[in-house]
Symmetry: C2
Subunit: 190 residues, 2 copies
């Protein structure tokens, strides 16, 4: 940020009165321009038939991590809820309609100023198709997932936790639980 | 937003190419200025002795809702995690040190572009004191809580869900569960 979005004068980095953090402050009108983490909201779309469980993944047609695989996920927009965002992006990125279930994972990614949330979901049908942000979309069982080609740590953590949980839930008849983890470094540099 | 924060030229509201939402777009350099929801992170600080459970509340010394009671909560900052934010604000607003437990509630508040998260927590000691943003700080049992003077719907919902849950947890030996709700209108206008 170089200029004030309210009066177009230059901003400088300084600690405002009654604050303890460096902010962008306008040298003319005094406006303080706070910057806060963004939320990335995704779904874990499941299709299960005859005891085989598969998850819908998207191959990214955009940077970052072009060509790597991800769960459908997007920056949350104003005027929507976290659930709205999960359903919207699953439709936009994978052309898929889902029934949304409860929150499954919360991943803090402080080095990129993001918090990722993933919801469990059930695919309503198999009428899915790659959207503009995806090269292709497909269903994968645990062994079929391209584990070495996952785009983001938050997606890798969520998928691994999901498959561990589903085994526990089936064996013990217990509930899914919320997984919380802090991701402190990128998965790969390109 | 009136001016581009990168080049100081006026922005206009328009739908950028390959997008479907109105954004602030710079008429000079073409920069797109996205605006996204902010996260508000809080704690539910509990003190329990001799079977009596009380919760730490803060009386607000700042607008909005000056003079009304809230759980310690704050806008999450860049470079911190949700857990960091909950502990930081409980210390700043109530002078209290906590042991943080799991996420208890997630409240979407789309009309103000916010998502509120509250974590269960245990007070480490009774050495608390009002910070700069609080008029006073106090411990309240369920019947002592000033229910008509709670600052925000997300706090009211979280407190009521917490007391309902604690009864269930004690009676059934079950676990706390995550409460998710969408808050669609303000608690009060002033």
């Amino acid at each position: 940020m170089k200029f004030c979005s309210e009066c177009a004068h230059p901003v400088s980095s300084q600690v405002p009165p009654d604050d303890n953090r460096v902010r962008f402050v306008c040298n003319n009108c005094g406006a303080i321009h706070y910057q806060n983490p963004k939320m990335v909201i995704g779904s874990i779309p499941v299709w299960e038939r005859d005891g085989e469980l598969r998850i819908l993944l998207c191959k990214r047609a955009i940077e970052p991590q072009y060509g790597y695989w991800t769960l459908p996920a997007v920056f949350m927009e104003n005027d929507e809820t976290t659930g709205d965002a999960a359903c919207r992006e699953t439709l936009e990125e994978a052309g898929a309609r889902i029934e949304l279930h409860e929150l499954f994972s919360l991943l803090n990614v402080p080095h990129v100023h993001q918090v990722h949330l993933f919801y469990r979901a059930t695919l309503r049908d198999l009428d899915y198709a790659a959207g503009a942000e995806s090269l292709e979309v497909g269903l994968f069982s645990e062994t079929e997932i391209p584990w070495d080609e996952i785009a983001f740590p938050a997606v890798d953590i969520t998928l691994r936790a999901f498959f561990a949980d589903i085994k526990r839930v089936r064996q013990e008849g217990s509930q899914f639980r919320l997984h919380t983890q802090d991701v402190l470094k990128p998965m790969r540099s390109r």
